[in-house]
Symmetry: C2
């Protein structure tokens, strides 16, 4: 029983030269892996007929499916469609349903049908058209019995995801389900507070006891390390295999283990606050709202998150954050005293059970000898009082802000634990 | 004169199966493109000796340089290093300076040198060691006169970027500069308010007047479209070529053109606010702090940004946002009246020249027939009064929040323009 093998090809000069971050490949890979397919390679290639046909030829013998994104849409010269027609020996024909859809699309926006738009209704004769309900260029499916099948998608992420979800995933689910392939399942354990190499040393003694088909990957994040357990095998037994592996690892991870159900750090925060019926408010200086944005990125966060203050300027810290002018002039904005006053005041003013305040030197400028770039003070106020801690991160502005948000969440989790 | 061709290989099962977003490839590609190299392919491959050697063999004939990331570090079995030794026919030798560094690294963290750590000092005999000053596994450079050179880097982004910046980029700059290769230069024009296909139609008439070596790519973003002009050629003339192309395009883009110097939308906002000496404050409901985070991601934002209110709950809108309880009960939180009251109040309370308020239904829940998911009201208050506008975005929470932030910035820019 071998796996259903997939290759993902991203077509686009703007991805190749670094102008655009390739989120499509990750999204598609995640969907495929969830369905039990095995992504064996990803490639990014230029917008050229020769590159496209050479890549399809090269990958064809070693996979069941090639999924391409990009090279379709109103400002491309339809190179991808031309290359596919050539690869499969097809003619180009006008697809009626796509033509009708494009007429309605143009009319709804008060525009005429243009030559450029009309060209997007031309498809290779052996392809099945996959409707694009959020853009103009349709997707294509070449379902083949011999050699790799090919799915062709637009590069715009929303359009690609819509076509994948509506048309490709159901087809792929059926291919994998009825073809007798092995499946892959995962379990992700979220840990914090123990460095990656120490975690590796901790689990080393039991590695030989783990089932042979379980693979462990260490995925470091901001202030966290995820352990990704993956097992491939028979659909009826893989979950039990993962349960067994998780049970072996859990005691070795101890208090560093925050979650065993593939949660983000902020989802652990939400779960624990809601379980313990605690509300939360924030006061953010150097993070500027990033913590609030992270918290509210999770649907349902209104069940515990009230909001907070973006106190970027010192004046706002004083007028709306309860920080005394003398505190600022004596200790500065990046200090234990300032974050303690902020968190205490916000907790009282907003009426939340917990309040967390962050103030630091994000960089690249603003550092001093005593408070170099990367210095961040964080305070958490709850019914027991206030605790503050100083961190020293790095020299990179984005890293400092991201780590400060993670550190703030970890400090709140600590207080919830000991409440 | 041909280009210096580069292939980027990302090694890692966690990238292949979608668990991890591949930001390394984009970062490296951007650096290479800036130096004038031509990224001809990117691949993501599994953590296996056979995949690594097969990929190096496959790419070797067609590029000057292969850059790999991943497969190095304390929890990998050093497969990458083993595969390279095999590919180049090297022995593994212990690098003294790396060994010393690892001793100090362990000691500084109060740990012993372990066997796992020590193994990272083993390097192929023909490699030049590239020091890793932020992690443990060193990078490697195989500089070859015949066949592709190979650079091997760890997968952790901070470590990879540090080694690239300190060791690889200087070496690569020299290779390209002394090898008589053509260079690539770019100009990025940021536009808003005109759909991609209309922009394409607008510039169509002058496309034939553009210099032949200029390539234009349309890169759609949240509420914006970037036009990326790229020219390859002689280092002395490419910038003039781009100036000429930009001058031809500018009149056709009209008021849709926000920037011709490769700026992000929020950087345009910062530049214009500082030029016009206007301060800004925000009130964010559904975006939860994302707009403040975006604004403060730019160094120097304290010159114009004061801070604001994350008014996620209705109570916070009333108690700290100046929204009247009757307004909420009559019109609801997502309404023209609510955002007008918020923006007016925050402007007065914070003493800013401009205040922007955002309130919407981010989704996936919370939508109604009158206010479906994706409905967002945004108001901007300045000395002339308040203007509010309603948007209807999509069904995706993240997209709605991201677009709301972009729409808010565009509304502020509009007010600055007409001030």
């Amino acid at each position: 029983m071998h796996s259903y093998r997939v290759a993902i090809v991203s077509i686009g000069d703007e991805v190749l030269n670094g102008d655009t971050l390739n989120t499509n490949a990750q999204w598609i890979a995640t969907q495929c892996t969830r369905l039990g397919a095995h992504v064996v390679e990803q490639r990014t290639i230029p917008d050229s007929v020769s590159a496209i046909t050479a890549t399809l030829t090269s990958l064809n013998p070693s996979v069941e499916l090639i999924i391409t994104t990009g090279g379709l849409g109103p400002t491309h010269d339809d190179l991808t469609v031309a290359a596919l027609a050539e690869f499969f020996g097809d003619e180009l024909v006008e697809d009626i349903s796509t033509l009708e859809y494009l007429h309605q699309y143009a009319a709804a926006r008060g525009r005429n049908m243009t030559e450029r738009l009309r060209k997007q209704a031309l498809v290779p004769s052996s392809a099945r058209v996959l409707p694009n309900r959020v853009g103009t260029a349709p997707g294509l499916l070449f379902a083949r019995r011999e050699g790799a099948s090919v799915v062709v998608l637009p590069g715009v992420p929303r359009e690609m995801e819509a076509i994948m979800t509506e048309s490709v995933i159901p087809w792929l689910t059926e291919q994998i389900g009825t073809g007798g392939y092995s499946v892959v399942r995962e379990r992700v354990l979220l840990t914090a507070g123990v460095p990656e190499s120490e975690l590796a040393d901790r689990i080393e003694p039991i590695r030989s006891q783990l089932p042979a088909e379980v693979d462990i990957a260490f995925l470091p994040g901001a202030m966290t390390v995820r352990l990704r357990l993956r097992a491939r095998g028979n659909v009826d037994s893989v979950e039990k295999t993962l349960d067994h592996a998780t049970a072996l690892l859990t005691p070795l991870l101890g208090t560093s283990l925050l979650s065993d159900r593939n949660e983000r750090l902020v989802e652990v925060l939400q779960r624990r606050c809601i379980e313990q019926q605690k509300t939360l408010a924030v006061a953010e200086s150097c993070t500027g709202g990033m913590l609030g944005a992270e918290i509210t990125s999770v649907p349902g966060s209104s069940a515990y998150f009230l909001g907070g203050l973006i106190c970027y300027s010192d004046a706002v810290k004083i007028h709306f954050g309860g920080v005394r002018p003398e505190t600022l002039s004596t200790y500065g904005a990046v200090s234990q005293q300032t974050v303690e006053e902020l968190s205490r005041y916000i907790r009282a003013a907003y009426g939340s059970d917990i309040a967390v305040a962050i103030s630091g030197v994000a960089g690249p400028g603003g550092g001093t000898v005593e408070k170099p770039v990367g210095t961040v003070w964080i305070a958490v106020a709850d019914r027991h009082g206030v605790q503050a801690r100083k961190f020293l991160f790095t020299t990179d502005r984005q890293t400092n802000r991201t780590r400060a948000c993670a550190a703030a969440i970890l400090m709140v989790l600590e207080r919830l634990q000991s409440d």
